[in-house]
Amino acid sequence: MTTPLPKPIIDLTGITKSFGTFQALKGINATINEGEFFSLLGPSGCGKTTLLRMIAGFESPTDGTIVIAGQDMAGVPANRRPTNMVFQSYAIFPHLSVADNVGYGLKTRKLPKAEIAREVDQALQMVDLGGLGSRAAHELSGGQRQRVALARALVMKPKVVLLDEPLSALDKKLRDQMQVELRQLQQRLGITFILVTHDQEEALTMSDRIAVMFDGRIAQLATPEELYRRPVDRRVASFIGVMNFLDARATGRMNGHLALDIPALGSIELPSAQVPEGLELRNLETIGIRPEMLTILFEGSEQTEHVARGEVTGTAYYGDMTYYSVRLPGHSEDVTISMRNTAGRSIVPPGSEVPVGWGADSIVLFQ
């Protein structure tokens, strides 16, 4: 691998924020790298917006330091920070045309008129709004407003672009399209993007790294793949995608393996590489396994490492996929199994006894 060492652009150290007696952020530590697409993901009220607004300079931390591009931001007002924000409401100036909106910040910088016009044109081209410069703000659709807000931030050539749920006001189709465009644009420009979202799918598809937040803390900071495959705890696991939780008990360690007893599936031995560091064996009560890691075995299916028996209790057909609810012996809740639909394979009706295949490497242990 020849990836250059990541250069940090933002350093957050020990950030807390209190509103009166309520503590919205309880000690945030993170480093965000240059050119990275970084997402803050978490449920409503976990403090994502508060953290983003602090980076932008609209709120100041109660404690902790924010360093952007090597400079401590304490006391630096929002208008002197190398960041630009795309607001959730887009905050398009209603009394200005599209071009004046986009050129707003350049005018503050006192650039010559001709240069502003050129930059604005370029920025509008970049977000596919070429030729709409003379439109009034209220003549735009939701998607167009979003693009104007983006162009207005990008034209400033900031070190970091901050986006607070920029796609949440768009309908599903447009949102999917904008996700792709936003990601492509970010990669092309190489500017750091920090995206706030509560949509895990959005975070997974767009980000280089994701910080999952709960209750004012970062629960896990990792790449999308790592987050999905190795969530650190049950909360993260159930927030990112679907996870089946099964009761389990550690029965001992021997020659680099961890012996586990999972009543619903059977007893297995896991290689230690799969066991998170610092795991207290006696605290181990549950393991996780993703729906696509369980398979219903059909005649002629590929063999799997282990096979358990279960009974189908329900199905949900999604076109490309079918989701099965399956009851496993010794487990009160049904597990979810997702199966890709293929030609010539019909859906197993509820009530059928089926063999359920699984592999030890897909077992997730939590700290």
């Binding site: 932008a56 300079g57 609209f58 007002p77 929002a78 208008n79 002197r80 960041t83 630009n84 924000m85 607001f87 959730q88 409401s89 905050a91 100036f93 209603p94 009394h95 200005l96 045309s97 707003y104 910040g105 503050t108 910088r109 009034a136 703000a137 209220h138 207005r152 400033m156």
Partner: protein
Amino acid sequence: MLTGERRQGLALISPTLLYSLLMLAAPLIMVLTFSFWTQNYLELDTTLTLDNYREAWSKPIYSTLIFRSLKISLIVTLVTVVLAFPIAYYLSFHVKQRKALWLFLITVPFWTSYLLRVFLWKVILGYNGVLNTALKGLGIIEEPLTFLLYNANAVVLTLAHAWAPFAILPIFVALEKIDRSLLEAAEDLGDGPVRRFFRITLPLAMPGVVASTLIVLIPTVGDFITPKLVGGTDGLMIANMIQIQFGKANNAPLGAALALSSMLIVASISAVIFLLGKRFGGKVQ
């Protein structure tokens, strides 16, 4: 073609509409008609003529009065709006709790009659009034100041005080309507507080400022109580003259012509202010 719904709507509002048309249009038409007639002592000559307008627009006394009225009203409006803006701004942006209480307090002066308030200013500004007595008591002046009362300054002061709440409220409403994230966006794009104020806050508050200006300007041009009570002879305004024509001078047609002329002038000034405000405020939707 009227659709059923529209016809129903019209039917619903028509009694009120008729009533207000009657109350508004009837006096106006009467005044308009009068202005083309002539008063011959006790009887009215109803042949149509433009003589009243000729007199109104040519005699220096009337133009002096009109100009003075306009000057006083414009100063009153300027003073009132310029003072009202910071108050409305403070209310909207810095008062976090009990905004309603503050708004309520602003309307407190309305609890006493306008006449009482004017008399109060007489008591404060008079020769032996509160201000003079206080200044004398403090040894700052020997003789009472005479420029306080019975001149145009007193009219400006009294009117500005009386109209302040009317000016504050529309500006306050306009400021309240400004989406705060617009201000943050401006700051985010590099504006300091002052630039941001002139590029975002003020243009977006313009509809309120224009409304305040017109609300104060239009009625004060026609005010006749205040100049009569605190204005002396230097502070008399066109409305006083109109009142005299309708009353003592017994020349209602001339009064009507004066009234309509000043109405026309005020209307054109208002239109100019409205257009200027729109221009500065941009294309706010």
